[in-house]
Amino acid sequence: MSFPFGKAPTAILALAIVSGIIVVAMDVFRHESDPPDLTMTVFSGEHFRAYLKALPKFEKQHGVKVQLRRTDSRALQSRLQAAMQAGIDDVPDLVEIERDSIGFWLRGRLEDMKFVDLTDRIAEEGLDKSMVASRFTMWSKDGRKFGLPHDVHPVGLIYRRDLIEQWGIDVSQIETWDDFIEMAKLIPKYKDDKDKVRDHYALQMDIQNGQILELLMLQKGIDIFDKEGNPKFAGEETVDLIEWYITNSFGADSIGYATGGVRRGQDLVKSLQEGLVLFFFAADWFTKKLTYDAPSMHGKLAIMPLPAWEKGGRRTSVQGGTGLFITKHCENRGKLDLAWELAKYLYTNEESLTELFVDSNILPPFKDIWDHPAYQQPNPYYSNQKLGAFLVALAPQTPPNHLNAFYAGAKTQIQGVLANAALYYSNRGQAGFRDYIRDQLKRQTELLQREIDHNVFLKRPPPES
């Protein structure tokens, strides 16, 4: 019997068979390894490479085999979720999770957590002292710590040193945001007046995903949630901030230029190279990314602390963060102690952490290793500034950042407020602007509160008196 569907389907059949054979053959030649003692999944390529180098030593020390996997962060999230939702033990022993997706895991009651409560082990090792304290807030719930922080991610302002110096501006005089706005007036708006399109803006803003607003909120001490998980971002301080943010982002004389954001900011690098935007918000990881994306900026940039909201105030913020978690699955199969050893090894190991710093500029929160010479190295890309020392100086000031199951939603909602406020301001200007922001914040808080109230797992019994 011949294949009756026509030529093309026959060709597809043939292709299926041929490619099937190839795929199987490739699989056969890949040597099958023994089941590992521990499995660990990470989403970052940089972490993966660093750990891959560090693991053999650990494996030798303990006489075990560790399997390291790398998955894209979206895939990691959906896969872990699917596995856990289906109640399947198809999960790694250790897993690194990014801040933006951690909220999901903090849903539910304390006893239903999918990760092992590490509070006691952390205290026992003194890690709560030797690591930057604010970095534990992201994965704490009801005072219990569920993760180890991988990074500090302090934020500074990268700027076009070459242009700024050329205009005779001294950034060391900038202490507060008011100073910054004064300084911005010294920056010429046009390279030449021919095309009437503005060529220079002082500050990078972003309407598209609200990340800069969020880090400014954190700098100001406005956390999206309080420790108990209730939304607390709708106060007058936030109204002030959004008003400041929008009025400085729009209009002919604005100091800020709204770029496409950091994560998808393809235009960011370009506007930096052109001098369209002169000061950029940058967390430690971003300083490295820039060296790949904008090699032509070598030696032309420098970094300074954020201007404070009032004199003597906080000069930094945080952006992003990754934590290491040990799953209940690991505990259930009796590998918890080994997993904890591995966690400690990777997160307090001077050698691999330093290597990661050199590779990614990411400052580890483990303070004991900050005196390593690598942190005192001048960085040629940033005009020979000592980047490590700069980050170390900011690290203790990083603000706490309480997260919970509703964080992702809250972030979207705050971004919505920002987008609507931008629209309102560019259409109607200052009239009624503050009231509008206040209304918007109130509306979004109510939406969030509705979701929180709907969650039956978060309703705790009233405290016994």
Partner: protein
């Protein structure tokens, strides 16, 4: 029918239907029952579930965000039907006069966006809509003098137009193929007869062409509507951080379902959204079939 073929036993349909029956029972009916039960529960994980009766439904039906998603989806469907389909039909009519070679050539070109997967389309256009540097922004500025520094994807008023434009690029050729085939089946002699009777071009279109392509048009309208109501991957990949646009301006119903079920991990709530969506799609399909049915009778 089969029984009229004499003594021979009626052929057993299971010879042909076993794959479908087997696959549906294992991979469809069972998960379906599961999804039905889930709609009345709040889930945290398989162990931690709680029956909450109709609370999921009452939450959704009083949630302003749901109505926003519904409105966005309806707006998108509206433009799919009243902007995209007329353009597709117009192009098909322009093409239908051509001789065969050039027809195939045009058809190929206009259809080509369909070969690009939705994830690629979403990300491609997210780059093309970049403020100041994006190709779309530059193009619009060259044509109209406006729009270089407009950030389409962060403006609550412009993100839906961006989505509609991308969908236009993506689907216009696909729908055109259907219309073109239908137009080719229109009896030319009827048109000629109408022309001899003194009918104008519009009358010919109205009285001869349109009734002839009605079945295909109905089919395309229903498929476009269902497609619009299931829109997900395009906005998911288009907007930064998978947040479905500023202030949910690009949020579709399936996007809402995704957020509830997978971002917030309430599979139960997601299932409830799914059932509401199924209900909406069914109602709309029924209405459309009814409208086209009565139109055919009259």
């Amino acid at each position: 029918m089969a029984t009229t073929y004499g003594r021979r036993l009626a052929p057993n349909p299971l010879i042909f239907l076993w794959p479908y029956l087997l696959v549906s029972v294992v991979f469809f009916v069972y998960p379906l029952i599961n999804a039905f039960l889930l709609a009345f529960q709040q889930t945290n994980d398989p162990v931690t579930k709680e029956w909450i009766g109709l609370k999921n439904f009452s939450f959704i039906l009083t949630d302003p965000v749901f109505y926003k998603a519904l409105k966005n989806t309806a707006v998108f469907a509206f433009f799919s039907i009243f902007l995209q389909l007329p353009i597709s039909l117009g192009l098909a009519m322009l093409l239908n006069v051509s001789k065969s070679k050039s027809k195939g050539f045009f058809r190929l070109l206009i259809f080509s966006p369909q070969l690009v997967g939705p994830i690629f389309v979403g990300i491609m256009f997210s780059v093309m809509f970049t403020k100041r540097y994006g190709v779309v922004n530059k193009f619009v500025q060259e044509l109209s003098g406006w729009g270089l520094d407009v950030d389409w994807l962060s403006n609550p008023h412009l993100s839906m137009p961006a989505l509609v434009l991308i969908a236009l690029w993506l689907f216009v050729g696909f729908n055109m193929v259907y219309f073109l085939a239908a137009l080719q089946n229109v009896d030319e002699s009827l048109k000629e007869a109408a022309a001899i009777d003194g009918a104008g071009k519009w009358q010919i279109f109205r009285n001869v062409t349109l009734p002839a392509i009605k079945p295909v048009a109905t089919f395309v309208v229903i498929m476009s509507t269902i497609g619009s109501f299931q829109l997900f991957e395009l906005p998911y990949n288009l907007f930064p951080n998978q947040n479905f646009g500023p202030d949910n301006s690009g949020l579709t119903i399936v996007g809402y379902l995704y957020i509830k079920a997978f971002r917030n991990s309430d599979i139960g709530m997601g299932a409830a959204v799914g059932w509401i969506l199924t209900f909406i799609i069914m109602i709309i399909s029924l209405i459309q079939v009814r409208i086209s049915g009565t139109a055919r009778e009259s």
